[in-house]
């Protein structure tokens, strides 16, 4: 029964990883930008939530109402003012710039908040749980998973049913032709980054409620995000959710064997899947 419990906890944790990954996947899908700063942006969101919730005396869950638009606005400005200037046929310049951004964010957080671990206090909901027979489910993990599913369903709907989503897909498909159809590339890219950071903000707040974080916590979140995207198959959002779940389950099962194996088990499963299915489990089928 312990094992089943571990699998369920892992799957719920996977929802959080899927949210780390969704923003990363969106940016890569729309503009072929590999955002090395993504993990640090998750942590930055957690700090923005910390400041808002402490400063205004808000529950961090309510602080989302402020953190999400702030991060989205930051994303749009970041893309228009900085990253768009580096975008072109070459993937390397934007990658290097986001690498620099990662260092800048980490050090700015270190200056502003010190290296001490912080945590977002969401109150009694953090420890609330429901008993389902022999299995006990935490209310928070279930809520995070439900929100992850809702976020991915929302992104999926946006991509395939709205004018903006079709603009994203047209840009992803053929950038040059999209511009001849009246798409302003700089603006579309800005919107994609805004949306990515809106999702990132949600992920960052839940990360901060779940565990303590410090300015250097971004790197491992970036790797979890990448692994979830690649396990699921690039460009497939539901696949990304599965990627997050597989990674989460691998980690909790690893921890069950030996607490030291948690992270290692995740990486090993990732490498195994990469070896067997290099395009991920659910690669996108397209023309």
């Amino acid at each position: 029964m312990d094992w089943i419990n571990a699998i369920i906890q892992g799957a719920l944790l996977g929802g959080l990883y899927a949210m780390f990954a969704a923003g990363l996947s969106l940016i890569f899908g729309v503009m072929r930008l590999v955002n090395i700063a993504h993990g640090d942006l998750i942590v930055l969101s957690a700090y923005v939530a910390l400041t808002t919730s402490v400063g205004l005396g808000l529950n961090p869950l309510l602080a989302l109402v402020i953190v999400v638009p702030v991060m989205a606005g930051f994303g749009y400005a970041l893309q228009r003012l900085v990253l768009n200037r580096t975008m072109g046929d070459d993937l390397l310049p934007p990658l290097l710039v986001t690498f620099g951004l990662s260092i800048i964010i980490q050090n700015a957080l270190l200056m502003g908040y010190s290296a001490d671990p912080q945590k977002l206090q969401a109150g009694p909901i953090e420890t609330a749980s429901v008993n389902l027979g022999p299995i006990t489910l935490g209310v928070m993990p279930v809520m995070v998973f439900a929100i992850a599913v809702a976020v991915i369903a929302g992104l999926q709907w946006m991509f395939y049913r709205t004018a903006l989503g079709r603009a994203f897909r047209a840009t992803s498909d053929r950038q040059d032709i999209a511009q001849l159809m009246g798409l302003n590339r700089a603006h579309v890219f800005g919107l994609a980054m805004a949306l990515s950071l809106a999702v990132t903000a949600i992920a960052g707040v839940f990360l901060g409620i779940r565990t303590s974080f410090d300015p250097a916590a971004g790197a491992s979140r970036l790797i979890f995000g990448f692994e979830a995207v690649i396990i699921g198959g690039l460009g497939n959002l539901w696949g990304t959710l599965w990627g997050g779940i597989i990674l989460g389950v691998a980690q909790t099962l690893g921890a069950k064997i030996n607490p030291g194996y948690q992270i290692l088990a995740g990486h090993i499963v990732f490498l195994l899947i990469l070896a067997v299915r290099p395009r991920g489990l659910f690669p996108r089928m397209d023309g």
């Binding site: 032709i177 511009q179 001849l180 798409l183 397209d286």
Partner: protein, 242 residues
């Protein structure tokens, strides 16, 4: 007839090769202008310059009197310039409807509901309605060519640039294409049409220009141009020593 599109001394060279050599011509509002010339004469390049895919080296391009020479491609499209490609360039991972929808919402700037109506109407007129939900990546050449036209029409252009849209079509298909284009003209759209299928061109255009080595070498009434000795010599490559 006021000029809707005007090129004044447009220059473009790739290294030592001049692809647009002091090109000047204008398109009247509601006019259909045909463009002919041998392969490699710089016809498609001229479209790339007009739509903003390539920057000009010199000269000016004006749309409805406004200088658009330095405008990015997207802005030119929203201002009313749309083109079709000789080699169809659909968004392959999107459906036919979605291809048209992007042009209608972005190029024509329509709200989703209006855009949907426009797309369905255009797809109906171009014979693609039954395939509206098919992925554009899996279409036949004829369907791709129709999609090129449909997508350009959904951007609600004031000036439509057609690049060899009749090439590779059967006589019957060509006839229905001519009807579609003449139908478009009656809605007031001005057209520039590059075409090798001369009989299709002559069924539509009011005026012809001939381009060779990036230079405009003749211009005038279509029949007169086709009969002129210079055009027969350069374009058709016959009677060189007659």
């Amino acid at each position: 007839m006021a000029a809707i599109l005007e090129l004044a001394g447009v220059l473009k060279a790739f290294g030592a090769i001049t692809v647009a050599d002091d090109q000047s011509w204008s398109l009247g509002t509601g006019e259909a202008l045909g463009v002919i010339g041998p392969n490699g004469a710089g016809k498609t390049t001229m479209f790339n310059l007009v739509t903003g895919t390539l920057p000009v080296d010199g000269g000016a391009i004006r749309l409805a009197g406004e200088d658009i020479t330095d405008w990015p491609a997207a802005r030119r499209c929203r201002a009313g310039l749309a083109r079709s490609f000789q080699v169809p360039q659909p968004f392959g991972a999107m459906t036919i409807f979605e291809n048209a929808f992007v042009a209608a919402t972005q190029g024509a700037g329509l709200a989703p509901a209006e855009a949907e109506d426009l797309c369905l109407d255009v797809l109906d007129r171009t014979g693609l309605l039954r395939k509206a939900n098919t992925m554009a990546g899996g279409l036949t050449l004829l369907e791709r060519k129709r999609l090129e036209l449909a997508r350009a029409m959904c951007a609600k252009p004031r000036v439509l640039l057609l690049d060899e849209i009749a090439g590779g079509l059967t006589d019957h298909e060509c006839k229905s294409l001519i009807e579609t284009i003449n139908g478009l003209r009656s809605t007031g759209i001005s057209i520039v049409w590059i075409e090798h299928v001369v009989h299709a061109l002559l069924a539509v255009v009011d005026r012809l220009i001939v381009i060779d080595f990036g230079r405009k070498i003749a211009e005038g009434e279509p029949r007169a141009i086709m009969d002129s000795r210079e055009v027969r010599k350069i374009y058709l490559g016959i009677e060189a020593d007659a």
